[in-house]
Symmetry: C2
Subunit: 193 residues, 2 copies
């Protein structure tokens, strides 16, 4: 941020009175421009048939991580709820019609100022198709999940927690709600700079 | 938003290519300025002594809702996790030192573009004191909660769900995780305009 979005005067970082951290403030109109984390919301859509469960993944047609696989997800928009965001993103990216289940994961990605939420979901039918932001949309059994080609750590973690809960369910448990932090990978000690 | 925060040129609402809703876009530098919901995060700090449970509330020293009672909560900041935000806000507004428990409520307030999260928490000691944004900080038993003077619907809903879960706990249950939508109060049919 270089200029005030209210009056176009250059902004500068300063700690406002009564605050304790630097904000972009405008010396001309006194506006304070706060910057806050964004919510990324998606679903984990499943299809069960003949006792076999499959998960819907989308191959990204956009950067970052073009060509990698993801659960349908995206930035929450103003004026919608978290559940509405999950349903909308699943429709936009995968053309999929889902019955939304409970919230399954909340994953903090503090180093990019994001909080990711994923809902469990059930596909109502198999009429899905890649949206404008996807190259491909496919169902994967657990053994076929492209673990090495997943787009983001929050996708891997959500899928890992899902299949771990499936094991518990076979033993009489149920899906939990999981809250975790994704920490930026540390540089190796030998890494120069 | 009136001016581009990157180049100071006036912005206009337009639907960018590949998008489906109006954004503030800059015709000079092509920047798209997205606006997204904000996370408000807080805690529900309790103190149990001699079999009696009390909840910590803060009397607001700032607008909106100056003078009304709230759970300690505020906007999540960049570079922190949701749990860190809950602990920080509780320290800032109530001077309280808490042991954070699990996430308890997720409340959508779509008409003001906010998502509120509240964590269960246990006070480590009674050394709390009103911070700069609070007029007073006090412990309340359930029968003394100032229900008519609570600041926001998400505070009321979180407290209601908490005391309802307490009843279930006495019957052998446990605290749940609750996700709900707060809907803007409808105008009465007789309301002119």
């Amino acid at each position: 941020m270089k200029f005030c979005s209210d009056c176009a005067h250059p902004v500068a970082l300063a700690i406002p009175e009564g605050d304790n951290r630097p904000r972009y403030v405008c010396a001309q109109c006194d506006a304070i421009h706060y910057q806050n984390p964004k919510l990324v919301i998606g679903s984990l859509p499943v299809w069960e048939s003949d006792g076999e469960l499959q998960v819907l993944l989308c191959k990204r047609a956009i950067e970052p991580r073009y060509g990698y696989w993801t659960l349908p997800a995206g930035f929450m928009e103003n004026s919608e709820t978290t559940a509405e965001a999950a349903i909308r993103e699943t429709e936009e990216e995968a053309g999929a019609n889902i019955e939304l289940g409970p919230l399954f994961t909340l994953l903090n990605v503090a180093h990019v100022h994001q909080v990711h939420l994923f809902y469990l979901a059930r596909l109502r039918d198999l009429d899905f198709a890649a949206g404008i932001e996807s190259l491909d949309v496919r169902l994967f059994s657990e053994r076929d999940i492209p673990w090495d080609d997943l787009a983001f750590p929050t996708i891997r973690k959500t899928l890992e927690l899902f299949f771990a809960d499936r094991v518990k369910i076979r033993e009489g448990g149920s899906y939990g709600f999981h809250s975790m932090d994704i920490v930026r990978p540390m540089r190796a000690a030998s890494d120069p700079g």
